[in-house]
């Protein structure tokens, strides 16, 4: 699965796509692959304040429960309610319809600390090399 060129990425495998001041956040294809079949997603309520690098929810798969970390600081505007009933979408469409939250950003400059698509692809290529070594 291709990684969208306009997104920014974290080392914990979250992505953020900022449009008109609102950031949409999700987990990457690499993350969903590592997790395996996702069975439950726990997300914050609108209005919740979240901090860059801090956990804001969990993704539960058949083999593990993983924290999801906020790529940037801000306030939650919307959580993806579809995932309550169909968490498995995270496995099939992690970069689009299975987004997790929409948020406002309190500091645009935080985006510069994140990886662009090239850097992220290099990062996971390195990870895959480690794994196969």
């Amino acid at each position: 699965m291709a990684y969208p060129a306009t997104y920014r990425y974290t080392k914990q495998h979250e992505w953020i796509n900022v449009k008109d001041g609102v950031g949409t956040v999700g987990i990457t294809d690499y993350a969903q692959h590592e997790l395996g079949d996702v069975v439950f997603v726990e997300l914050p309520k609108p209005g919740a304040k979240i901090g860059a690098g801090k956990s804001f929810g969990t993704v539960e798969s058949v083999k593990a429960v993983s924290e999801i970390y906020a790529p940037v600081s801000g306030e939650v505007v919307e959580a993806n309610a579809d995932l309550e009933a169909t968490p498995e979408k995270l496995n099939t469409d992690p970069h689009n319809s299975a987004w997790l939250i929409r948020m406002t950003l309190s500091d645009q400059a935080e985006l510069d600390k994140l990886m662009d698509v090239k850097a992220y692809e290099a990062f996971i290529a390195e990870k895959n090399k480690e794994a196969s070594a």
Binding site: F40, E42, K45, T58, E60, A64, V65, E67
Partner: protein, 448 residues
């Protein structure tokens, strides 16, 4: 279960393997000043014959021939030897947590049946298996409501078991959960007006017990309306599970916390007992404790597995729904066996006998001059009476007649100085009730 100590030769062999001369050398990494220099203060070893002698002597100290009217959270009920036979089978008695479903179908199925029975009895959709006891179940149920509502205040009825309230206070003390008590009215039930005025949008849960600690059945439907209007959750604690054979199930509750001792577990000092939390399906992910689910294997056959284990401590560590990390599987099995033996009609009959005998006892006691029923609300197998003098003094007299008297309510409620909580289960005969009434009448006639 046997305890086989190591022989001196075996100890020597083991020490040789790790390269130590003495057991003390094993502990050489512990700084000198932290080591105990003298032997432990324990009695000397005994031979097998001496141990048998010792326990025979202890067993002979047990009191025999007493009739008990003490309940207050723990109840004496009839139980079958079949229950003990089943739970003493090695497959159940010594089995570990059934993590490996492929070798644990019997244990898993028995737990699944337990959960099913608890759901049927409580009118709820999902039940865990299990908590330590009713008190920890009640507290965990409140914490569950706290997580579900993201609110930090719990209102607890004063008519909830005082020890349950103490357990909740212990948990709340350092967790930031605020606990406030709700008064009771002259009928011995939760003061609905006080409840209404205290229900603000910061209340996570209202904890009530029914039948409550004074024996009285709470008007749960009415309370639930008030509680739900404010967005709080209603947590119902049940200490006398046999009541569910007759009283309507607490289906208005959002979370039910049950003490299952009455189902096949004898009253014994310190337990072990078994607690249960039952709730709505939609709240299952915030429910603590173990759950067994039914599924099909790769050949399409019915099977059972531990499910939703990702909520639990061994996977989620400090983010688990609770720090409970065990369950009471054997006690739950006793309850399952007991209820299966009784069946629906049997449980109803048992409950009915409790109510009838308690009613008869109350009528007999009310005939005694100065004895008064304290609360007029309906009860199950316990009721509160007011005596013309100290319950402690009266109980001391009753004990001489081999009667274990009612619970001294003044011990938990300073305002109920002359109140006694009388418990009458199906184990008490009509003759025993009459003997009790006679002894009480006699005790009250004695000069002070």
């Amino acid at each position: 279960m046997r305890y086989l100590p190591k022989s001196p030769a075996e100890r020597k062999e083991m020490l040789a393997v790790v390269g130590c001369k003495t057991a003390d050398e094993l502990f050489s990494s512990i700084p000198e000043r932290y080591r105990l220099k003298k032997p432990l203060n324990l009695p000397a070893p005994l031979s097998e014959a001496e141990i048998i002698q010792y326990f025979k002597a202890r067993a002979a100290e047990n009191s025999l021939g007493y009739t008990s009217f003490l309940g207050a959270g723990i109840y004496n009920h009839l139980r079958s030897v079949i229950t003990d036979t089943i739970i003493q089978r090695g497959e159940f008695l010594t089995s570990y947590t059934p993590y490996q479903a492929e070798i644990s179908q019997g244990t898993l199925q028995s737990i699944f049946e337990f959960q099913t029975l608890m759901c049927q009895l409580t009118g709820q959709e999902v039940a865990n298996a299990s908590m330590y006891d009713g008190s920890t179940a009640a507290t965990e149920a409140v914490l569950m409501a706290e997580r579900l509502t993201s609110r930090r205040l719990v209102l607890v009825a004063r008519s909830v078991h005082p020890e349950y309230r103490a357990v909740l206070q212990t948990y709340a003390k350092n967790s930031g959960l605020r606990v406030e008590e709700l008064p009771m009215n002259s009928h011995g039930t939760v003061d609905a007006r006080a409840l209404q005025s205290r229900l603000k949008d910061d209340v996570a849960a209202v904890l009530v017990q029914s039948p409550n600690f004074l024996g009285v059945i709470e008007p749960l439907a009415e309370l639930s309306n008030l509680v739900h209007k404010s967005g709080a959750l209603l947590v119902v604690s049940i200490t006398e599970a046999v009541s569910l054979g007759l009283v309507s199930p607490p289906s208005d509750a959002d979370v039910v916390a049950l003490e299952g001792q009455s189902f096949g577990l004898p009253p014994s000092y310190g337990g072990p007992y078994v607690g249960v939390i039952a709730s709505r399906d939609k709240f299952v992910r915030q429910m603590p404790g173990r759950l067994v689910g039914q599924t099909t294997d790769s050949h399409g056959r019915r099977g059972f597995v531990l499910t939703l284990a990702t909520r639990e401590q061994h996977i989620r560590r400090e983010k688990a729904t609770s720090n409970i990390c065990t369950n009471q599987a054997l006690c739950a099995l006793a309850a399952t066996t007991h209820l299966t033996l009784l069946g629906k009609e049997g449980l109803r009959e048992m409950a009915h006998q409790n109510l009838s005998k308690a009613r008869f006892a109350l009528a007999e006691l009310e005939k005694i001059p100065g004895v008064r029923r304290a609360f007029d609300a309906p009860f199950f197998n316990e009721f509160t009476i007011e005596l013309p003098r100290s319950v402690r003094l009266v109980n001391a007299q009753l004990l001489r007649d081999k009667i274990i008297g009612p619970f001294v309510l003044g011990a938990a409620y300073p305002d109920l100085t002359k109140h006694a909580l009388v418990c009458v289960t199906e184990t008490i005969t009509r003759a025993e009730i009459e003997r009790f009434a006679g002894a009480l009448r006699h005790a009250l006639e004695q000069p002070l």
